[in-house]
Subunit: 417 residues, 2 copies
């Protein structure tokens, strides 16, 4: 008799199928680039198999390793922290621009870098962001189909379930990922079709309302977010510029659009900790004037937060506003994942930095100047943080000034078809 | 009590030190690109640590995985086998051209692809060779410091020690790698200095002799190899164009130079099997006329051999000739490693395909046209195969026609300082 494996191999195989068939909707002949922590090798292998079965041309994987990352912080000379592999991301950008799909496996230890020198962490992130730009732009502009799924990395599992032995923690995190990714259903692909339809009904309602702004009120929050001119709400499956409809995030519960970078006023408080590149930032409270953050506080990670805000001019302005009901399955799990992919889908959120071109009506045909004129934000960063809870009300403000309840106590105020 | 690990962690750490300090002689501030099978992760981590301690700027690793390679052969559509990640190798070429060092960890299963469709194997190799060209050229032209070391991959160990349980096979292969790489010595770095000095004395003798040709005789072999005009012998440590003296191969026992691509006549038989990209090619016998292979036979893998020869015009001509005494430590181990890095250092050998620019006097300053005029060969491939044994005699033919014994029964005929 052998012990049951910590991670159910059948569900892991279903997760790989969902990543390829729902997440990417990989088309025959497409190449695929996978990035993953090296511990996620079993999932990468399963995804590779399903990708080739779906007709992939070439699957290329890049693995990161937490030990190698730590070796850099512990042994590298100072000059290392301004370096990044620009040649690699330039090449990836070219590949994404030539119809190569992109799959990222998330699951890094959210606290990996929490005891390293914040100045080195911030310099290294800044160098990476600058180098990564040619690749990120293709993703942000949705030039190709892409997807993120998660793997229960032991170092991540230990953060989510600190009291448990590692094997138990990994099994519980695996089960939480499987549930949130709907691979615990009999027919995960059908379950995703149904979920995508519900998200589509909600974005159609919001797009029909054409709100000029959203107003948030709750503990520590009194905020008005103007929406960009010609904004468009998205959620769930969405069509990339290469013509492929994909589900970029697995899981996903949000509907989201582009705020106006000059029209955000008031104060907002985070409702969950933000895990940013290995550092936890908690109890964030910021004040906006004319769309710009003029004051930022946090009970933990305030120095990292302020470094993030100083990345560039756009880092102090909003690039995304997203609505998630408090009753979403991820929120109901009661877990704090310390991982944006999950935590942002447990609560309404906003993002600092770069906006999504696709969140404009006819966005793909707009010039950078037009996007700027309509209120779209530009930055090297895009960082989501959670501002929703069951104590937050949200109203929509119509063009004529009429006020429409959007959420009450964290739930949709108006049912849709 | 726990079982001793199959691979001695102290010797593995010493191997990492030798790779960085002897193999690469990594200079402070240099970036490093590592390629490795994913099972070699413990060695990659140790190398990363020693590289950063030596002042590396950024270490970037790319891992391959045998399961992912097999998934391609078993599930990918036909079009996959003409694909390669050109964008990646273009980028690597740029990095090598900008002073990034390169470390490859060898150790793949030599028979991985032996039961796959030879046509697919050959098409995939051809596509990879073409895509890899911008990176390979920088290595072949020695523009940056580079090094190959080995890791005892279990699938490789099972081939070398077919009768042993996997753990024993891995331990025995690890010990063989450690011995051949001189990390079983008290001071491996000093042992390499001594070995490099002996190889330098031998290349100085050969460069002083300025032979116009070498003549090989033995069972199944009666071959004359003309040497390129202005050829230069190299061996052991050597200076790259970025000014860094490195040891490209760990282990290395050979001294080698460039043959004249038009002046090879006669017949030669292989003395060890050649493991080429997952296929074994055994009992090779080829006949040269005017430097070109006009007839090629093999008892095993003949189809793959003929596909290799058809890669391009230069694939039928020689790009390297190398001398290794039969008493070299690797030969004395009595093992067949099914891996060129080891087996080529157990026997004198020749290589089909691309020549090394550095094996010409003042090679770095020669134009491609000059190299061509002096007899250097050009090809997408460079494949070494073994033609030496204790039954082979080699004579040098001087410019005036005088005949000088070089090797007798596989050993140097003339001692040097
Ligand atoms: Zn979002
Ligand atoms: Zn976002
Ligand atoms: Zn050689
Ligand atoms: Zn060679």
């Amino acid at each position: 008799m052998t012990a049951a494996p910590a991670i159910d191999p059948e569900k892991l195989d279903k997760l790989a199928q969902v990543a390829v068939r729902v997440g990417l909707q990989l088309a025959p002949g497409q190449d695929l680039i996978i990035t993953a922590p090296v511990v996620a090798l079993p999932l990468v292998r399963a995804i590779t198999e399903h990708a080739y079965k779906a007709g992939a041309g070439l699957v290329t994987a890049f693995f990161s390793d937490e030990e190698m990352t730590l070796a850099r912080y512990r042994h590298a000379p100072d000059l290392s922290f301004d370096r990044a592999a620009g040649w690699l991301y330039e090449g990836m950008g070219k590949a994404f621009g030539s119809n190569t799909a992109r799959l990222a496996i998330a699951g890094d230890n959210p606290l990996l870098l929490s005891s390293e020198d914040p100045d080195k962490v911030s310099r290294a992130n800044r160098a990476l962001s600058a180098a990564y730009k040619p690749a990120l732009e293709k993703i942000v502009n949705f030039e190709t189909n892409w997807n993120i799924v998660s793997y229960p990395n032991p170092s991540w599992a230990r953060q989510v379930f600190p009291g448990e032995p590692e094997e138990v923690a990994v099994r519980r995190l695996a089960d939480a990922i499987f549930a949130a990714s709907r691979v615990d259903r009999d027919d995960p692909v059908a379950a995703w079709e149904e979920h995508n339809a519900a998200l589509r009904a909600r974005t159609q309602w919001l797009n029909g309302m054409r709100f000029s702004a959203l107003r948030y009120s709750g503990p520590g929050t009194d905020l008005t977010i103007g929406l960009a001119d010609g904004h468009e709400w998205h959620g769930g499956a969405s069509k990339a510029q290469n013509g492929i409809t994909c589900n970029p995030n697995i899981p996903t519960e949000e509907v989201f659009t582009t705020p106006h970078r000059l029209r955000v006023e008031g104060t907002v408080s985070s409702t969950k900790p933000l895990s940013h590149n290995g550092t936890l930032i908690d109890d964030i409270s910021v004040r906006f004037e004319g769309g710009r953050i003029v004051e930022a506080k946090a009970s933990r990670g305030e120095a990292v937060l302020n470094k993030v805000l100083d990345t560039d001019e756009g880092a102090r302005r909003l690039g995304e506003v997203a609505l998630v009901p408090h009753s979403s399955p991820i929120s109901k799990s009661g877990l704090l994942f310390f991982n944006t992919l999950f935590d942002e889908n447990a609560a309404s959120h906003i993002a600092l930095g770069q906006c999504y071109t696709k969140c404009f009506l006819d966005g793909a045909s707009l010039t950078p100047e037009q996007i700027d004129a309509q209120g779209g934000n530009k930055s090297l960063i895009h960082i989501d943080w959670m501002i929703g809870s069951d104590r937050i009300d949200i109203d929509g403000i119509a063009a004529d000034g009429a006020i429409v309840p959007v959420m009450r106590s964290g739930e949709w105020a108006t049912p849709v078809a």
